[in-house]
């Protein structure tokens, strides 16, 4: 690694290392100084705003402003000068069922349903199964490990696993090697439009099960042992205990994990970008938005419309998630 690049711009480096903390410290000290000048009664009303101020500014500049900027931009044409009303939305939503954004919308729905449900299913399965064995932590570490891999690296790994060689040649990809053992012809996993999206979702599931498992496992451990004991004394079998006691108690956590997964499924981008680039009918909204925005002729209006569609799809889930989160907090 060549660190000399850091020395190319010494003033910037110094400004970042020394300047940023210095400015923050000066802000806090200065703010506190000003607050003390105020009458005693006014201080509690002003002080929180001083402390929360930087965060508000950052959220405003980097989140609120871009969101409304995107919304505004989505009503204008490519040049950004002419108001076109809902024209960009009409453009993207025309051509049902195969034109424009519809393939991407269809695939996002696949992701939404399959990714969310299967990650939850496997996460819950592994959480419950590993709970009962002595070698729990090594198993859980192994299953959690894919979370530590960036999704770009994960996609490259799965591209190798899905790789295809002609029938008769040695199969270098894991999946086709397995098929070869059973004397089945190799499959072009990511080049066949009928299965490519599902192949990508499978890679995503592999990458995310660990996340669901860890949180669900923690929730499982939070269930008091005497509750299960009482159920057993009452004569309930293990399956009944899971269905009637464990599952209902874990429900709030499952919902929070589930909604997080839904948001992730709607945002799916890296796997698609790396593995197929949206070819073979695997496009998703986030990839479409990226392509529209960053490839000439830079359709920023259309791209913003796709972004807004995506935001509109996420917002209800987000609200539900926040409510659920609060409900869980309130029960503590």
């Amino acid at each position: 690694m060549d660190f000399s690049v850091l020395l190319n711009d010494v003033p910037t480096l110094v400004a970042v290392i020394v300047g940023v903390p210095a400015v923050l410290a000066a802000y806090i000290v200065g703010g506190e100084y000003l607050v003390r000048l105020l009458p005693d009664k006014a201080r509690p009303a002003v002080r929180p705003w001083i402390w929360v101020g930087p965060a508000l500014v950052i959220v405003g500049v980097f989140l609120v402003y871009p969101v409304f900027g995107t919304l505004w931009r989505s009503f204008f044409d490519t040049s950004g000068n002419n108001f076109v009303g809902l024209g960009n939305y009409a453009n993207q939503l025309s051509g049902f069922p195969n034109g424009n954004a519809w393939i991407a919308i269809r695939n996002n729905i696949y992701w939404l349903i399959l990714f969310t449900l299967l990650v939850l299913f496997f996460g819950l399965l592994f959480a419950v199964l590993t709970d009962r064995v002595p070698y729990e932590s090594p198993i859980k570490s192994l299953i959690f490990m894919p979370m530590a891999i960036s999704f770009v690296a994960l996609s490259v790994i799965w591209l190798f696993m899905y790789s295809y060689q002609q029938p008769g040649d040695p199969q270098t990809g894991t999946m086709n090697a397995i098929l070869q053992v059973f004397h089945h012809d190799p499959i072009t996993w990511v080049q066949d439009p009928n299965i490519a999206t599902f192949a990508l979702i499978a890679a995503g599931i592999w990458g995310f099960v660990g996340f669901a498992m860890v949180i669900l496992s923690a929730a499982l451990k939070g269930i008091p042992g005497d509750l299960l004991e009482a159920a057993r004394v009452d004569g309930a079998g293990e399956i009944t205990i899971f269905r009637r006691v464990i599952f209902p108690l874990m429900m709030p956590t499952i919902v929070v994990v589930g909604t997080t997964l839904v948001i992730f499924a709607l945002k799916a981008f890296d796997i698609v970008y790396v593995m197929t680039g949206g070819n073979y009918d695997t496009d998703v909204l986030a990839n479409r938005m990226y392509k529209l925005a960053f490839q000439s002729p830079f359709e920023t209006g259309l791209s913003s419309a796709v972004a807004v569609i995506l935001v509109l799809a996420v917002v209800p889930v987000l609200i539900f998630n926040l409510r659920q989160f609060r409900a869980v907090e309130a029960r503590r």
């Binding site: 190319n8 711009d9 002609q166 070819n279 490839q295 000439s296």
Partner: protein, 430 residues
């Protein structure tokens, strides 16, 4: 108390900052620096940095090189922020056109470059490529030529196959190889998000050689439709190379679509060979040597893709690495001048993988005979046109690549594929 101590600390910090800034600017202000943005990474980056080394040594100017595979996006963002690099190597001429139109580029034939030297060193074609609305906005440092058919001379000799000299003999050879029980061609188009481009090379080479430069130019300019008989004909001609259901190609559609382009020619060197011919630009020889342990000259040679229509004999599609200037400083002027010199270009050429577009370039600088022969194809071309993909807007050439994938999967869908390209063409050129 705490407040006062903090204030002292901050004061000390500020003082240190000022001192460091003074030192920092003091040490770098001598000759200045120039930022360059380009796509080259890994081995290519090493070659580019090696090219810059003598420049840095002679002038004392520091070149700050930034590499990204996504030059279009990065540049668009940097320009929007008012902070472009001084010099960028743009992979797409469509972007150069756009930025020139917006006045974001620095005109180069207006005192920056000595146009007498430029005209003496570059053929009018290269100058014309960099000229937009009568002003020169980019210069070419390196070039490449496409449409080279690689074959294995040993395997050819074993079967008594002759190198074809015209289109009819190419088709006859293909039929003969097929009759002998082998697929004549190896084709591989997988390339991550850019999948499909090797097939698009086939089509554009056929367009130029079959319908000539006038049709070719109006096609990439978006004036000739994809459904136009000339363009459709090129796809159909490529279809005759692929054969019905891609049966002329090793492994058929599944292999064409799933094989990474870098492994495309491996079948030439298998025993028995999986195919006898592979169409790819000259860079592929590096893969032959490293992956297949093939020896240039004995294990592989090439012949240029024969003329489809003799009316346009000697037509070849090529590419090039161009540089444009976004900020006019004395350092960026010096660098762009340096990159037009044959001495600078020779550094990368000697390392392999590039040709020089410069007329005064000494062929002795080419690293081997094959590269010298490839260069001869470029300099000897009667019609030399630039890669149409690099000339189209990004959306257009991405759709073009995606269309290749669909065509390979099912040739019978050509009409709907071309109709779809027409709808994209209608909005891509604004």
């Amino acid at each position: 108390m705490i407040g006062r101590r903090l204030t002292t600390l901050i004061g000390a910090g500020m003082a240190a900052l000022v001192a460091l800034v003074a030192c920092g600017t003091g040490s770098t202000a001598s000759k200045g620096s120039v930022h360059v943005l380009a796509v080259w990474a890994a081995a290519e980056q090493d070659s580019f940095l090696a090219t810059l080394k003598p420049f840095e040594d002679q002038t004392g100017i520091k070149v700050l090189y930034e590499s990204t595979r996504d030059v279009d996006s990065v540049l668009a963002t940097r320009l929007a922020a008012g902070n472009p690099p001084e010099i960028a190597a743009l992979p797409s001429l469509a972007s150069v056109n756009k930025y020139a139109g917006q006045g974001k580029l620095v005109q180069l034939d207006n005192g920056i470059l000595d146009m007498n030297t430029m005209n003496a060193q570059y053929s009018p074609g290269w100058i014309k490529l960099g000229t937009i609305n009568g002003k020169l906005y980019q210069i070419f440092a390196w070039a490449s030529v496409k449409g080279l058919i690689w074959y294995n001379p040993t395997k050819f000799a074993a079967k008594g196959y002759q190198v074809p000299t015209d289109w009819a003999s190419l088709m006859a050879l293909s039929a003969k190889i097929k009759a002998d029980g082998t697929t004549p061609w190896c084709i591989a188009v997988a390339s991550g998000a850019a999948s499909g481009w090797p097939g698009s090379d086939w089509v554009k080479e056929i367009v130029l050689s079959q319908s000539g430069p006038t049709v070719y130019d109006s096609w990439w300019q978006g004036k000739t439709k994809w459904t136009d008989p000339a363009i459709k004909n090129a796809w159909l001609t490529w279809g005759t190379i692929l054969g019905p259901n891609d049966s002329n190609v090793s492994g058929g559609a599944k292999t064409i679509l799933s094989q990474p382009f870098g492994n495309g020619g491996d079948g030439l060197f298998k025993n028995p060979p999986k195919c006898y011919m592979h169409n790819q630009a000259s860079f592929i020889t590096a893969n032959f040597v490293s992956q297949d342990k093939a020896v240039p000259g004995t294990d592989f040679k090439f012949f240029p893709l024969p003329d489809v229509d003799p009316q346009f004999a000697g037509a070849h599609v090529g590419g090039g690495d161009s540089f444009s200037m976004f900020k006019d400083t004395s350092q960026s002027r010096a660098l762009i001048k340096y990159l037009t010199t044959p001495e600078a270009q020779a550094i990368w050429v000697k390392r392999g993988g590039k040709l020089s577009p410069n007329k005064s370039f000494d062929p002795a600088n080419y690293p081997d005979d094959i590269t010298r022969q490839v260069a001869a194809v470029m300099t000897g071309a009667k019609i030399f046109d630039f890669d149409a993909g690099d000339l189209m807007p990004t959306v257009m050439f991405n759709a073009y690549w995606a269309a290749v994938l669909k065509f390979v999967a099912d040739q019978s869908k050509l009409d709907s594929i071309l109709a779809n390209l027409d709808t994209i063409q209608a909005t891509a050129y604004k």
